[in-house]
């Protein structure tokens, strides 16, 4: 059967043998394709088949299920009637099997889809219809701690690869009946479950429609991860900057939904996609909300500084030391000259070596097995760090510049914006070494123009800075206390803008009431 062919309604046969043969043929006698043919003793020796995929079906559940099936009590079926397959089917479907999720279908394609998602199919001889029971029980990873979005004060659970568990994690936090999941199956081969989560009556329907439409329009064979989906549904621009963001934190998704954003879950990916996503949101870590607001403001400004430090500092250093030496204080200039006196390369090559070296170390530390971590630290930092300077390959100043940018990049909790910044850094280095400050200024203007032109779900990417929106500034560059933020952010255009109805607490009388009299 050609799975790529357009869907045609093929109805299964009444005869069990024909059906089983067809199923086995279509699955090519795969060794995890299980068919168990039974005979129902107390029901006129009716033949039945239980079909499922090994590994996708929970063993114990299936065991209970088969026992329930085999003990069909004849007394329920009217004995005076001749052998009645339809009646037996109904008894089993309605009375015998205590599955929560049950369904039936006579369409071959539907049955196949359900088999492949871990359902168990029961076929009864003489009935051209199959029962579908949920026996899902594939191996799943336990809920772990977040890897990329660590939080000191926040919850420690993160999403897993099973979409049902992820939605459960969300439901547990968001006990609102208005929470909706729009279901899609993406990928002709993978049929990956994709849920678009939103809150009816709060989330702007425009975003929901946009997300649903873009997901529906996808025609692709496989989809394995959230970022693959992001690439398929984000606004079409040539840009390194992320226009949709993935998160592994259920609390962050909950927060996004409650503010009017749309969350998209992809089965098999421990990340949920949040949209629309704005540039400024990349600089707010979830810990900002679990921390003293002033402290969060300081941390945020550090993150903004880090972003511009990453993209600008290497370029500025190259420009300073090759074109604008007059801008370096004399004593510092002398120090740099001394360090560079034995250096054979130009400043650009020197910085390039350091930057590439740090990227190599960074990549290596991501992929290294835990056991060799210590030896890598020694080789990477001690041996390489000291010898590379002593050999005269690069100067101290270059190492300092490289270190500042690398350490700054750890400050950006958002890995996508971090990657973008590190790539922009190289462009600024090239321009800094050829056109100096003039080139850097021009390139920065170009970068800003580019950012202004970006959109996320058709919303301006730099909102609420450009276009400016005063009331949304409470949670952008600065973070104000929760009591001050009585409305939901306007950038997400929620249908219900009121967030809290805090009435100011009556001021306590100084000294309070006396307990003496």
């Amino acid at each position: 059967m050609d799975l790529n062919a357009p869907h045609q309604q093929v109805v299964i046969s009444e005869l069990l043998d024909v059906n089983v043969k067809k199923f086995k043929k279509d699955f090519g006698d795969a060794n995890d394709f299980l068919v168990r043919e039974v005979t129902l003793q107390d029901a006129h020796q009716t033949k039945a088949a239980i079909i499922g995929i090994d590994g996708l079906v929970n063993g114990t559940d299936a065991q209970d299920f088969i026992i329930g099936l085999l003990t069909v009590d004849l007394s329920i079926i009217d004995q005076r009637l001749p052998k009645n397959a339809e009646a037996i089917f109904d008894v089993i479907y309605h009375a015998r099997v205590s599955m929560f999720d049950a369904n039936k279908s006579n369409d071959v394609q539907t049955l196949y889809d359900n088999i492949l998602t871990g359902h168990v199919i029961v076929l009864i001889d003489g009935v051209a219809c199959g029962m579908i029971f949920d026996c899902k029980g594939w191996p799943s990873r336990g809920i772990g701690t977040p890897m990329t979005e660590k939080s000191l004060w926040g919850p420690k659970d993160s999403f897993v690869e099973t979409i049902r568990l992820n939605t459960a994690l969300l439901r547990r936090r968001l006990r609102d009946p208005r929470l909706r999941f729009d279901v899609h199956a993406v990928g002709r081969m993978t049929k990956t479950d994709v849920f678009v989560a939103h809150i009816a009556g709060l989330t702007n329907p425009e975003f929901v429609k946009l997300a649903n439409d873009r997901i529906k329009a996808i025609d692709i064979d496989t989809i394995t991860n959230a970022y693959e989906l992001i690439q398929l549904i984000e606004d079409k621009h040539h840009s390194l900057l992320p226009r949709l963001i993935e998160t592994e934190r259920p609390d962050r998704v909950m927060k996004a939904l409650s503010e009017g954003q749309v969350a998209i879950f992809v089965d098999g990916s421990p990340y949920a996609i949040i949209g629309p996503f704005y540039f400024t949101s990349a600089f707010s870590a979830i810990d900002d909300y679990y921390n003293q607001p002033l402290l969060a403001t300081v941390k945020r400004s550090m993150r903004y500084f880090a972003f511009f430090a990453i993209i600008l500092i290497p370029g500025l250093y190259i420009a300073l030391s090759t074109f604008h030496q007059e801008m370096i204080p004399t004593s510092l200039l002398i120090t740099i000259i001394n360090q560079r006196s034995a250096n054979p390369f130009s400043t650009f090559v020197e910085i390039f070596i350091v930057v590439i070296l740090f990227e190599i170390i960074r990549e290596a530390s991501l992929r290294k097995p835990d056991a060799i971590g210590d030896s890598m630290t020694i080789v990477g930092s001690l041996i390489m760090g000291t010898t590379i300077i002593e050999s005269g390959l690069v100067s101290y100043a270059a190492i300092i510049v490289g270190s500042i940018t690398t350490i700054s990049s750890f400050l950006l909790s958002n890995t996508r914006i971090n990657t973008a910044a590190r790539l922009y850094k190289i462009v600024f280095m090239v321009i800094g070494s050829t056109f100096g400050f003039y080139g850097i200024t021009l390139l920065f203007i170009i970068l800003m123009t580019h950012m202004v032109s970006l959109t996320s779900f058709n919303q301006a990417y730099l909102a609420p800075m450009a276009p400016f929106n005063l009331s949304d500034q409470k949670d952008q560059l600065i973070k104000l206390p929760v009591t001050w933020m009585k409305k939901r952010p306007k950038i997400f255009a929620p249908l219900d803008p009121i967030r809290s109805n805090l009435t100011p607490q009556p001021a306590e009388k100084k000294g309070g009431t006396s307990h003496v009299d």
Partner: protein, 409 residues
């Protein structure tokens, strides 16, 4: 263009950028010859330009057998020509961007130092925060070459802006742009610092040098390490005069005491000291902590009034008088006032008759206070200024007598 071609083109661009120089003449930082001081001596044929160039390795202590700076000298018909010769003398690319100070000799100052301003303003790499200094009774290059004990870089010693502000009551601190403004305008005339070579000659020293056969030119000028190996520092730089200009031409010098009075008239807040003799045998030292100077002009009457109001405290007193008595303070302040008034009158007379240069900026005050009269007389202000009647009004107040009242020593 196909993707493949684009990638190849991108790689080629990256390689070219990396290994070829850019179009803006980039200079790698270690190929830079940083000029910290420039001396310009006018000769009959042109100029001798001396550049003091930093030796970074010696400054940071990497090499111990070299001086932190070296000096190069070249002659040319123009300053630029001489400077280009200097550039060709060594491998480093000379850069004036870290220039601290420019020294000119007396002959150049007398002939007018505008060519130097012309040279420095046209160059893109000369910063405005440099000071111009006149070498009095010495060649500018000799001044620049004196090795000093305190500062590794000799030029820093001449740069007045490096000094602690409260210690500069006898100095001026005009930067390049201010100097240019003052040269160009006729509302105020230029005053620059003048530096002299002071030779601390002892008999022992001379004998020693003669014996060692080192009484040569270099030792005389303090340009060898011997200068700082001797505790008395045989050759020192002294800032004891201010050079007074008319336009860009030097007309004379003010001495130490006059320099302080000059700064007082300009009303710059600095720490001034007035020492006065009382009845021949006693003296009082007065430190000014607040100064208010005001010049009002009346050009129609050919008159100007200088009002100075000072207040401060007594640092030292040997006059036997009860300082705790308020009335006696008036007596002291009268003494101080009359002494200051006398000095000021003498000073103003010297400026008007001898120097004939409006260094107080009276023209500038007239420009604002009586614009129309000034516009009429602007053209012949230099002839008018010496004839001007300058009234001096001084108010002086003793605020404090210091930490103690009376002493009976």
């Amino acid at each position: 263009m196909s993707i493949k071609k684009l990638i190849v083109a991108g790689w080629m661009t990256l390689c070219m950028i990396t290994f070829l120089t850019g179009c803006l003449e980039p200079v790698e930082i270690n190929k830079l010859g940083i000029v910290s001081g420039l001396a310009v001596d006018q000769t009959d044929d042109g100029y001798i330009v001396t550049a003091q160039i930093l030796n970074p390795a010696a400054i940071s202590g990497k090499t111990t057998n070299a001086l932190p700076v070296y000096s190069l000298k070249a002659e040319g018909t123009s300053i630029h020509e001489a400077y280009k010769k200097l550039d060709d003398m060594q491998s480093a690319a000379l850069s004036l961007s870290h220039l601290n100070v420019m020294v000119i000799n007396e002959a150049f100052a007398e002939a007018g130092f505008a060519p130097l301003l012309n040279f420095s303003l046209r160059r893109f790499d000369v910063r405005p925060d440099i000071s111009i200094v006149v070498a009095k009774d010495a060649a500018a290059s000799d001044i620049l070459n004196v090795i000093t004990a305190l500062d590794l870089i000799p030029a820093n010693q001449i740069n007045i802006s490096n000094r602690v502000p409260s210690r500069t009551e006898r100095l001026t601190s005009y930067n390049l742009y201010e100097t240019v403004d003052m040269v160009n305008t006729n509302t105020i005339n230029t005053v620059l610092n003048a530096v002299t070579l002071h030779r601390e000659q002892t008999q022992l020293d001379e004998d020693h040098q003669l014996e060692a056969g080192m009484g040569n030119q270099a030792t005389q000028n303090g340009s060898t390490l011997n200068n700082i190996l001797d505790i008395t520092v045989p050759v020192q730089l002294r800032f004891e005069h201010l050079a007074v200009f008319q336009g860009d031409k030097l007309v004379g010098f003010m001495n130490d005491a006059e320099a302080q009075l000059y700064n007082m008239v300009l009303g710059d807040f600095k720490r001034y000291d007035i020492v006065t003799k009382i009845e021949e045998d006693y003296y009082t030292s007065f430190g000014v902590t607040k100064i208010d100077s005001k010049i009002t002009t009346d050009l129609a009457q050919n008159e100007a009034t200088l009002q100075l109001s000072l207040s401060g405290l007594i640092f030292e007193n040997t006059y036997p008088i009860d300082l705790t008595n308020q009335e006696n303070l008036v007596v002291i302040s009268e003494h101080l006032k009359s002494s200051l008034a006398q000095d000021m009158t003498d000073f103003v007379n010297k400026v008007q008759t001898e120097l004939k240069s409006d260094i107080f900026g009276i023209g500038g005050k007239a420009y604002y206070q009586e614009h129309h009269v000034w516009k009429e007389k602007e053209g012949y202000w230099s002839e008018l200024f010496p004839e001007l009647t300058l009234n001096i009004e001084i108010e002086l107040e003793v605020n404090s007598v210091g930490e103690i009242g009376n002493v009976t020593l």
